[in-house]
């Protein structure tokens, strides 16, 4: 891996994005869909659970 390769990689990245390569777009969309949904589910459940795990939230009588 030389500096040249890195420059070439950068150039290819720009080219791929600008050309909106369909295969690449599919990969990007799936990445965002999978990670986005996983994060949304984890946040929806994880934040309330994290908040409830503070014992002071539970010491309230009644």
């Amino acid at each position: 891996m030389t500096l040249n390769d890195i420059v070439r990689g950068l150039a290819q990245a720009v080219r791929l994005i600008l050309s909106a390569d369909p295969a690449l777009m599919e990969i990007i969309l799936l990445t965002l869909r999978v990670s986005g949904l996983a994060l949304a589910l984890s946040t929806l459940v994880g934040v309330p659970v994290g908040a409830a795990l503070d014992w002071r939230a539970c010491e309230r009588a009644g």
Partner: protein, 177 residues
């Protein structure tokens, strides 16, 4: 209380779960003869989402717990004495701890977007079906397509940066009120 310590220890362990072990576990659960085999989720995006939830959930809940615990106890007493319902009390505490809560979500996002071991195992890196940026990088590096792998890596970094910038903006917006 001992249970509290145990839950905390389990959660902190969950925050450091090796993704590949999560992948193996989900794979076994979803494999045809596994307990959840009837779902037919293996090698689909659903399986990848399931694995990533297992990775992200302890991060979100563990770091949210830490953030909430560092809120001044006086705030809780104050909103309670003002007659807040339990839900309102939790909401007030979460709002006070919002910087830590957003940090928890950001950490979990960093975990799932960069994750490769689990999604590779349960998704199978099938072109046009379950191939994501990280698994595509692994494939292209292995096959010697270094500039393509690097290009995908740069795109992944850019996506992560944009997503984090958006989340921090959200954090800033909640600060204004």
């Amino acid at each position: 209380m001992r249970a509290r310590g145990l839950i905390t220890a389990l959660l902190y362990t969950g925050m450091g779960l090796p993704p590949v072990v999560v992948g193996l576990f989900v794979y076994l659960m979803l494999s045809r003869s596994g307990p959840l085999g009837v779902l037919s989720w293996l090698f689909t995006p659903s399986a990848m989402i399931a694995a990533q939830v297992i990775i992200a959930f302890p991060l979100v809940s563990g770091l949210t717990m830490t953030a909430v615990q560092s809120v001044d106890p006086a705030l809780r007493l104050q909103v309670r004495s003002l007659g807040a319902t339990r839900l309102q009390e939790v909401w007030a505490v979460l709002k006070e701890a919002r910087i830590g809560v957003v940090a928890a979500i950001v950490a979990a996002f960093g975990g799932v977007i960069s994750e490769v071991g689990a999604v590779m195992l349960v998704g199978g890196n099938i072109e046009g079906k379950t191939r994501v940026l990280t698994t595509a990088i692994v494939l292209n590096t292995r096959t010697g397509e270094f500039s393509l792998a690097l290009a995908l890596g740069i795109i992944l970094l850019a996506l992560a940066f944009l997503a984090n910038a958006a989340m921090l903006r959200l954090q800033g917006m909640t600060n204004i009120e």
